[in-house]
Symmetry: D2
Subunit: 215 residues, 4 copies
């Protein structure tokens, strides 16, 4: 089970969360990654945690002011990147281009989508993983794994029908170890979460709770 903590643009201390994630991952043996803002990537990566970018653009070296180049975030320490997160929806052709850009820079790719049909679609673009996040549950108190379990199993089926080698993660409302365990039982091999850790008073305790059933 892969736990990916998305720091978004929350007012947390990214280094504190990264250090906690690093330590809890080592203690529990559970794979934990942290997706940080571009300008924080280098200092997050310095903690030794598995570091992810939140987005890369479908571009190459060249004249692209204000865009995110996959090679640059990789050089800053990112090992993977989210693509097409619900807060950063892309054109289909740009998802395709971003997956290719990330692969060119040896970044692991996780493409997000709203529903099982879209999960099938993005799986066809050949990313390493896909993540289903129902928009209506994002940021809420109800976990996708309990509030809409069918969407997880349907997403797993939709991805498998297109390409069995693509991992399926899920997100939205996940904040406890039970949520993570339920997600695993539904066929997901990873979870995306954000506020449950990034906004927690004690991010380390929140992470320990999350991985407790997996350890």
């Amino acid at each position: 089970m892969f736990v990916l903590v998305n720091l978004k643009t929350y007012p947390c201390d990214p280094v504190e969360v990264a250090q906690a994630a690093k330590e809890v991952s080592e203690e529990s043996g559970v794979r934990i990654g942290v997706a940080a803002q571009d300008a924080d990537l280098a200092r997050v990566a310095e903690t030794g945690v598995e570091t992810w970018a939140q987005h890369v653009d479908p571009i190459e070296y060249g004249s692209n002011t204000g865009h995110t180049l996959a090679e640059t975030v990789a050089e800053a320490g990112a090992e993977g990147t989210l693509i097409n997160h619900s807060e950063n929806r892309l054109k289909l052709a740009d998802i395709d281009g971003s997956v290719q850009a990330a692969e060119r820079a040896d970044l692991e790719t996780c493409v997000c989508a709203n529903n099982p049909a879209q999960i099938g679609a993005v799986t066809a673009l050949g990313p390493d993983s896909v993540a289903v996040e129902p928009p209506e549950l994002i940021g809420g108190d109800v976990s996708v794994a309990t509030g809409d379990p069918d969407i997880v199993t349907d997403a797993v089926e939709a991805a498998e029908a297109v390409d069995e080698d693509v991992e399926v993660y899920c997100g939205a409302g996940i904040s406890t170890g039970d949520d993570v365990e339920s997600a695993g039982e539904l066929g997901a091999t990873g979870v995306l979460l954000a506020s449950g850790v990034a906004k927690a008073d004690d991010p380390r305790a929140a992470l320990e709770d999350l991985v407790e059933p997996l350890a």
Copy 2:
């Protein structure tokens, strides 16, 4: 074989092309459609030709100023719609929403994409048909069927791997009956073309040439 003539925003007479398409279709028995600008749909449909919209937005009745509602173009006479044309690329979630909007209004759907991987992706969204149009050939003199035949066969394979019931069309550079015939031999069941007819001095003659090998 379905021949869909996209009038784009060319300075042609849409009614003249529509009448020619209607007549050539009846004489040859070949299915021919005309995709017109929204403001021309009603008078194009009055000719009796199979009328298509060039785009619909992922919206419902409501507060959507300056957008294209599927129900409105259907009421104006459209029977189908292009979605995600290379000159109107959409976010993945909006392609999904536009396909659903079109189906709600009983419009036949044809979702365009750049390459076989993206064709596999849009096929997963459940449209009636998909159309592969390599951007580098659009508007040129070399037909996709002769200039890049692998892209057509790969697109047919990519779509079949996801859903065998979705038709695969191709476009870009198609202007003669030979081009149409070649497309059919590669597995396409329809072609999209534009300037070859819309910019022709004699659209009727251009259409007759196009369908000649099919009649």
Copy 3:
């Protein structure tokens, strides 16, 4: 005072509203226009009402699938067009291009914006008129003229500081004759409204009420 009724994509009968607007305008002597969906423009214009498009794209004749060409909506009967409506926000360069496209096709232009600073900005692009519509009041029961009168007077000032020849309209929440009268007292020379007429059980009665204080 100019009253522009924006039909958006509401499920109203555009011809019924257009006929009512035409008649009430003639009876009252108040200028009334109707902004319709592209596919409805021709039949709305046939009623003789002053017909507006809801949007034009910054394009010329050519390869622009699924976009709105100013010349085409003008040929369908539009005499003016909204640009940058809050439901269709454009890039600055595209507002500029759309104003130029509209002027090329002899369409009167009304560029919308959120607040006085943005009103000053769009006035600099040289449209015929600008319209301030505070997003938080759009679609509500409180008129901009009573709920946020400063925004109207500030918008009038901001536009005058840049170009005294540009008319300033206002919109959001306007549904009664009192609202229209208040808008005029604040310096606006026109109002944009939508649901107050388009969703009324009796659009003709709604229009008569609107223009009553002006007649």
Copy 4:
């Protein structure tokens, strides 16, 4: 005269350029800034050079995956930011929001635009400076100051007519000290340049040449 070097996503060493800029600025007394990719901001700022971001999004702390928060780039060491660069054109409402976000984080703002009309428009949004860059000259060998001098004087006039306190810079094709000097004679108080320094074999020498007439 302010010389702002935009590193875009060029394959240069940002720290090398930053150190050269820092030293040449100190030696010549000419203000020189470097606009870097987000992921490079911290190490560029560590050189002590005046560091700029290439873009900020119109957002606040919160749920904004893959976007650039003004506060975060400021914390990484940025003192200013470009907004609406021609390679990153924004909606008008988002330019407004980005200027406000940057000011909230104490970032100096420079809003780019294509032509004098748009320069007048963005000046109305109250940035610290605006920069006119004719798209057709960007990346070319002809400097805006010699190839299209009227656009610079017209931009200066357009900005002054709206707000005399906003500085006017120019860019596109600037690569020599003569270009910078000409820009100043036309009324610009700063220049934006990119490839002339970022792609130079010897960035330090390129910068020395640029500031030579100003020292």
